[in-house]
Symmetry: C2
Subunit: 117 residues, 2 copies
DNA sequence: CAAAGACATTAGCTTACGCTTATATAAGCG
DNA sequence: CGCTTATATAAGCGTAAGCTAATGTCTTTG
């Protein structure tokens, strides 16, 4: 059973980030625009593999491509990153709230101890 | 060919985040500790599935489990989140740098235009 | 001690992923 | 117009993901 439409965008963003080759591509693009061939050169995977990765990254909103003659220079896009950041912020908030709850619990236990002393 | 040892920790963190069921689990845990059974109840997947997801999340450093009799209450862990945050911060930095480079380029073009006017 | 409850583990299945090779398309160049 | 370069697309393959059903292992409880 697979979602036929609108597979949550977060799926594609995090899935895109889960692959080391794609992270290498993104890290390279963080240093500036690059074409498919330029990206493929240091990567030890074939050019078609890079094309496929880029297609996926574009779909996830993490990369944009423009047309320059025969080349398709790629650059980072903030869209996917923003989605990831936002969701992770929610997690972080929960994490902090859990710490607060723990503090509250410990305080309550101290209070009880005080009472039973 | 698969990495035999030390599959980059980021792989496991982002892969963990890529699955909607696991994100649902994490979102639930953001609201506080929960046992396997409690997690499974609203999820429409079987208990073994949840156990497997939790195992993976623990492996990725996103969840911690403690032992309480027969139960294994889970809570969020900051380790995995920290790793993800750190890497994404790098990306964001690159994104901003790209904007600056773009600004610089546009300025240079303006200057050239000035010169050729 | 027996029964029930919470969880882990195993096996098997289906589907998606990542890669390569082979081939197509399309722009730039002599 | 042929030739080369840059990229896309397609087919095929091996592996891993995610799930379920079945079963095992401990605790707790009556």
């Amino acid at each position: 059973m697979s979602l036929l439409f609108a597979p949550d965008k977060l799926d594609s963003v995090f899935a895109a980030l889960a692959d080391p080759t794609r992270r290498a591509i993104l890290a390279r693009l963080a240093r500036g625009e690059a074409t498919i061939t330029e990206l493929a050169k240091p990567l030890r995977v074939s050019q078609p593999a890079v094309s496929q990765h880029i297609k996926l990254l574009v779909g996830a909103g993490m990369v944009r491509q423009r047309v320059d003659g025969v080349r398709r220079p790629c650059r980072l896009s903030s869209e996917g990153l923003g989605a990831a950041d936002q969701w992770l912020a929610m997690l972080r908030k929960g994490l902090e709230a859990n710490y607060e709850r723990l503090d509250a619990l410990l305080s309550a236990m101290d209070a009880t101890e005080e009472g039973t002393r």
